[in-house]
Symmetry: C2
Subunit: 340 residues, 2 copies
């Protein structure tokens, strides 16, 4: 067993994962069975690495990172001797099952086998293999080299050591792994995203707000805090008395808004206490005022950054400033730097 990683599938997510591992100095075997796609993938890895370099996000030259990614057309070659496999095949259960059956036979017995799936529960894959103990889902954001979160979802048959090894490996390459303890549809990332989308669609349907203004409320409001504070952290710092005071003061209103959507999930004292104690492990309540000042400083820094770049203001503004590559100029990486 060596330090190598196998990435299975040369589509957009497979390419992005290869970059995550290769920029962390891990050799990557990127498996893509289709000859034409394999060539495209090679170009795409290079194009993305050049963009990262233009934004000063690589410690070394893009060629040095790309040199660690080996495109291979044989699964047996890709999986040989690796310690970790990140599967990125199309979201089709039969495809995944047959891949994992092959991987089980080809990979070293203690290799971790992770699927990038956002929708297929790990136990559906596990049912198809002989030894499901080393299989889990490791679901990333898109693209994973820019959104560090990755959801680790075990099936009931996943060994604890598999989870621990995946966690350690992914943290070591700069990702932020979170543990999803149960196989729920959408995991956590898409549960939160779905909650916003469902509410947003209802507000548009009911004529409360125009769709563009829903986007404005997020982009020019909520999203600026959520870029560096989670939802519980946000309310902890928004209300004197933190999560507990927030639940007392706002809980009944949020319960009524939920009830309008058919939801009846009261925030019990025990739930609030659990959340409060967790948030305070990062933001001790006795320094609440300091942390509010920190939040405002972070918002100011973010606002100052927005004013220095046109990039966050939208594609039209960025294009006017010649700040991002258009499709027709993909090869022209001198135009990719947003931050000259």
């Amino acid at each position: 067993m060596n330090q190598s990683i196998a990435v299975v599938g040369g589509g957009s997510i497979g390419i992005a994962w290869s970059i995550v591992f290769a920029r962390a100095k891990r050799p990557v075997m990127l498996y893509e069975p289709d000859d034409a796609r394999r060539e495209l993938a090679e170009d795409d890895v290079m194009r993305r690495l050049r963009a990262l370099a233009a934004h000063h996000l690589l410690d070394e030259g893009p060629e040095d990172v790309a040199a660690r990614v080996e495109l291979v057309g044989e699964l047996s070659v890709a999986a040989r001797g690796v310690s970790y496999v990140q599967e990125c095949a199309p979201e089709d259960l039969d495809v995944k099952r047959s891949l994992f059956r092959e991987l089980e036979a080809l990979a070293a017995p203690d290799a971790v086998l992770a699927s990038s799936s956002s929708a297929i529960p790990p136990s559906s894959i596990a049912q198809a293999v002989r030894d499901p103990s080393r299989i889990l889902v490791a679901h990333p954001g898109n693209p994973p080299y820019l959104l560090p979160v990755v959801e680790l979802v075990p099936s009931p048959f996943t060994d604890t050591r598999t989870l621990e090894r995946a966690h350690t490996l992914l943290a070591s390459v700069g990702m932020c792994p979170v543990r999803v303890h149960k196989e729920v549809e959408g995991f956590v990332f898409n549960r939160l995203q779905g909650a916003v989308l469902r509410e947003a669609y209802c507000l548009v349907r009911d004529g409360v707000v125009d769709p563009r203004d829903v986007d404005t409320v997020m982009r020019e409001g909520l999203g600026r805090r959520w870029a560096f504070l989670g939802p519980f952290e946000t309310v902890e710092l928004n209300t004197e008395g933190g999560v507990d005071a927030h639940a007392t003061r706002m809980g009944p209103a949020y319960a009524r808004m939920g009830a309008e959507r058919g939801q009846h999930d009261p925030w019990t004292e025990a739930m609030v206490a659990q959340v409060s104690s967790a948030v305070q492990s990062r933001f001790p309540r006795d320094r609440w005022r300091d942390h509010v000042l920190w939040r405002d400083s972070a918002l100011m820094a973010l606002e100052a950054f927005r004013r220095r770049t046109s990039l966050l203001s939208g594609p039209a503004a960025a294009e006017q400033a010649n700040n991002y590559p258009t499709n027709s100029a993909q090869g022209d990486d001198t135009r990719e730097g947003g931050e000259q």
Copy 2:
């Protein structure tokens, strides 16, 4: 009628609104009846302006901006001759009603009277006055000088011209006004925030995920896109085929996740078409690939910025880098700049 603005209430929101107007060169009369609070408010305006200056967010000296804010202890003095009143009193209906009754008598007949309330519907206030046509809610994020969104909520009695004048004025001072067409509890900002919080609490209750990891999923994932893209814009660029393809592919899964919470609000073709057409007014579909490249460039710029400052990584990291003022050192504004 002059260019002056009256801000009613010298608490945290009133002070923040005063800064919004004063930095846009509008003279502000800030009314606070309590003598001690009035003095504190004067200091707080200055402290916040110094922090903004340290982040290079003012076009002029903090003293120049502060000079436009006049603290007054008489409502009649504050409201005299102003074109716009932003009320920021405590969230108590009786207090608001009596204030608006006074304001109606004191302010010029065509002055717009706006409440900052996040929870009190404008018609509850309107019922208490003689002429409700010039009353509306203008609900900001916190603090409004850093989160530009402001929700304009009319009551059924609000005159269209009142809405238009509030919209024009607030846009002219750098805010992003959105129109909320109906008085729904939570308006839009807190509806979206509440949807996330309700789902987050359920996931914690059901043992799906630890509270800290909910925050991580937002902070290290979803929130990084929502900092510059709304939820509809995000899915438009996440899925080839945009909002329409997203609704086809992901709609059923999101409907099932909603049903688990008691919600049954299908995304009809008409709803999806309305959202799709609105989003495409900013992101024409025929340039989808260009816009995805823009999104990734923006994410890269944001990530590069994160690496240059410790501020977004949390209070501990920021403090270690001596990057934000602690409570005990509030007066020491040389420490406030996060971005030297």
